[in-house]
Symmetry: C2
């Protein structure tokens, strides 16, 4: 087998894996949107069957042989190197993790999910702590197997979600923004802002019309995707040419639904751009990393769709659709209201300034849990202590505290930091966009297409050829600089609130 032949075979197997990924996404989509109450058990069996098929392809002896042939491949393009990197990474990971452990985590996840739901409902940690404890034992085993020479236990988990980033790097970045964020929250949460009109009755049909107009302006391609309604908003790639988002209309504020649509729209633009002629159907036709993905969803959600310039164009349209609900509310009042800074206990509804503090809390706690520095029984109090230190108050109840997020029940330790990394990546990219494009006037004239095109060419179309951090460095010509995020916030919120 020549290296060329080996690469061709790698591409063939990879295409099958992607096909299975997309079928799996379709089954999950159907589970969220249409599955009957009693259909869940068999759906799990179907998903297990596909997971096995996928595992067999990605970690087969043939894959090992092909990858061995591709060691030190000469004359390779970016795309080729990217694909080899991804397939090697997954091959090695799968060889390290026994199938039995993977299955145990998945099964324990189903159990722990149920006890998390029960504990949250009852506000009783003890209903969850046993299953969480079993899960942590399994996750620690996984972390040990994934741990690399010289790294720490948490590294193995973190790098599942953000390739090539070390725990100490994240800790350093977070420590740089911690004090500035706390002081920004202090400063801006003291302002009195009336946002009550956002909680009025906004008919869903008009909300959809408005959101669709913005999605179209963002260049969301309705020939290659759609927007549906689900309990929790998400984005999924059902096929190279079928990228779907969902939203919900049950949140109390009209801005929650809209923000959520734009957020998922940002994820979808990335996926649509990554599935281009060069990458389509391969494992490279996705976002570079979770953090990079989140940078784009949050860039569209916050930096664009919560900016005064955006609303300078869109507020008259919004007002025309909701004349009664916005009666007497000026453009300035509206923009101030949607950017209100507040100390609140719930991460998902947090404002742009305090959001990352919620993530830092979880990052700190996850390390303590994985390293065994805190027992599972002590976690709620440790949560509250971190919460007081970062957000300045104790959550009123455990439901608003440690039981608010679902992630730990499924064993997803290492996932949370990518949310805050996304904010950092996003701010650095946004600065670069503003250097290269007349963003302010584009937004004021409703021209989102030019910004979308820029991001498509410079980021989306590169897919996963590079890691998230490498992609950031290629796009902005510099390493990650956390201070850009806090200076972005300082600038924006000073202009808004003085």
């Amino acid at each position: 087998m020549t290296q060329r032949e080996a690469y061709a075979r790698l591409v063939e197997i990879d295409r099958q894996i992607v096909l299975i990924d997309h079928m799996e996404a379709t089954l999950y989509w159907d589970q969220e949107i249409s599955l009957s109450p009693l259909g869940l058990e068999e759906r799990s069996v179907q998903l297990g069957y596909l997971a096995q098929l996928r595992h067999d392809l990605a970690s087969s002896p043939e894959m090992g042989e092909v990858l061995a042939h591709l060691e030190g491949l000469n004359d390779a393009s970016d795309v080729e190197l990217g694909l080899i990197r991804i397939r090697r990474r997954e091959y090695e990971k799968m060889r390290k993790l026994p199938v039995l452990l993977v299955r145990s985590i998945s099964e324990q996840g189903a159990r722990a999910h149920n006890s998390w739901v029960a504990a949250r409902k009852a506000g009783d940690w003890s209903l969850f702590s046993g299953d969480l404890s079993s899960m942590v034992t399994l996750v620690r085993e996984k972390a040990t197997l994934l741990k690399q020479e010289g790294g720490c236990l948490y590294d193995g988990l973190l790098q599942e979600f953000e390739e090539g980033i070390r725990t100490d790097q994240v800790a350093q970045l977070f420590s740089e923004i911690k004090e500035p964020l706390i002081s920004l929250v202090d400063r801006f949460s003291s302002k009195t802002v009336d946002s009550s009109f956002l909680y009025g009755s906004y008919p869903i049909e008009q909300q959809q019309m408005f959101a669709n107009e913005v999605l179209k302006a963002m260049q969301f391609d309705f020939q290659r995707g759609s927007c549906a309604v689900s309990v929790h908003p998400f984005t999924t790639t059902i096929g190279s040419d079928d990228i779907r988002i969902t939203t919900r209309y049950t949140d109390p504020s009209v801005m929650d639904s809209f923000s959520s649509t734009v957020h998922e729209g940002g994820h979808a633009l990335y996926e649509m751009g990554a599935s281009n002629a060069a990458l389509k159907g391969t494992s490279l036709a996705v976002g570079a990393s979770l953090g990079m993905h989140e940078s784009q969803s949050r860039l569209w959600e916050n930096m664009i769709a919560k900016s005064p310039e955006f609303w300078h164009f869109y507020y008259p349209r919004f007002k025309a659709l909701f004349p009664v609900q916005t009666a007497g509310i000026s453009e300035d009042q509206f923009v101030i209201a949607i950017n209100k800074v507040e100390r609140t206990p719930i991460r998902v509804n947090a404002d742009e300034v305090s959001y990352s503090l919620h993530v830092m809390l979880r990052f700190n706690l996850e390390q303590m849990i994985i390293n065994g520095e805190v027992s599972i029984n002590e976690v709620p109090e440790a949560w509250n202590a971190e919460h007081r230190s970062l957000l300045g108050f104790t959550p009123a109840s455990i439901k608003e505290g440690v039981l608010q997020d679902v992630h730990w029940s499924s064993g997803d330790f290492g996932y949370f930091p990518t949310y805050a990394l996304g904010n950092l990546y996003g701010a650095q990219i946004w600065k670069k966009v503003k250097e290269d494009l007349p963003v302010s006037s584009l937004l004021q004239s409703g021209n989102l297409g030019t910004i979308s095109d820029y991001l498509k060419t410079s980021i989306y179309e590169r897919g996963a050829i590079n890691t998230g951090l490498e992609t950031l460095e290629k796009v902005t010509n510099r390493g990650l600089d956390a201070s850009l995020f806090t200076s972005y916030l300082e600038d924006k919120f000073s202009r808004l609130f003085g």
Copy 2:
């Protein structure tokens, strides 16, 4: 390998095949309900991938070996014999049909579908005839490979859809009902019936409320299925505990949507009953045959939900939901209107009396086409000639004639007869139900559950243990008697129209 071991292995492989069937059904469902316009190409590749997986399992050397071990299995139950029969039948079929031929038919089907759409739009046969001709060549090749000793060419196609029934048997059954049906149409289509109020404006939300009330009374289990909206109504088994139906609200008459929901509801009850503790997850957990399936959908649609007794209970509820639309229309007028007999060109909207004549037309023509007794160019005129002979008039246009049905474009020759067989099975079963249950008073009191339970125990729960014809004979203790269908019609319509 002992016979017990062989059977256990057969069950294991069969469960995998069923899992793939259900995943395939999910992908098709998604295609009908949510797929983006550009997502179709990759979806075809996904479906092809699953078809290949399924083919490999069902026709593997291991399957051959297992089946050989099971030859002449002693002490076998009904269920075991049924499963062996089904797996052997499919194994032999797949060994007979080259994969290349199956793929060619599928690919030619995609082409022919497009040209059928174009031809229908333009009303121009020549746009379709070339692709149909190629399809017929492929189908004839398939029929030749499937043809059994002593059978005719059409047998091989017919038995794809209705196991164990010969063409000459169907021809004999149809010849017995032909003249009686023509004379019934003559007699009842002469009556003047006002059905214009059925074409008024009926809000969809109320239509759904009414249909759901009836589905619940039929014992459609909403924990194990749902009802959605699609372009063409259908029923699909997404999983053993997830059986879904669709309907549409674009038909001109309110009865079209309701009939369609009840029709698909009948199919769904059969599937729900077949997925019971004993058969769930195996290939036996489906209807016995297409004809038997259609008998149940049409039994619920026509014999139950178009009977005067049914509406004696439901018309007051219908009237309460649609007071304006039904103002001044008595129960008798309503029942007469929904049972109007009319010479119309379109099969899918045909009344209960003339429907089977439309099927006979296609059955006659399909044989002529497969046997080469008519050239593809001559088909439209042959259609019109048959149409005159059976329905007494020439369709006004080719769109209302030979181009009305999609089936031939996908190569589904042999499928149509099962629609009329369903009517025959249904009438014979309905007679038996009426012998065993006080049907008239059950319907008049809205007690559909007792009828549903009866059908569940006697038919649905047997699944595909036996063929359609065998199931009929077990349930009614007699062979198929076509005259029961015409005497059912004679009786019902005489009572309605005198």
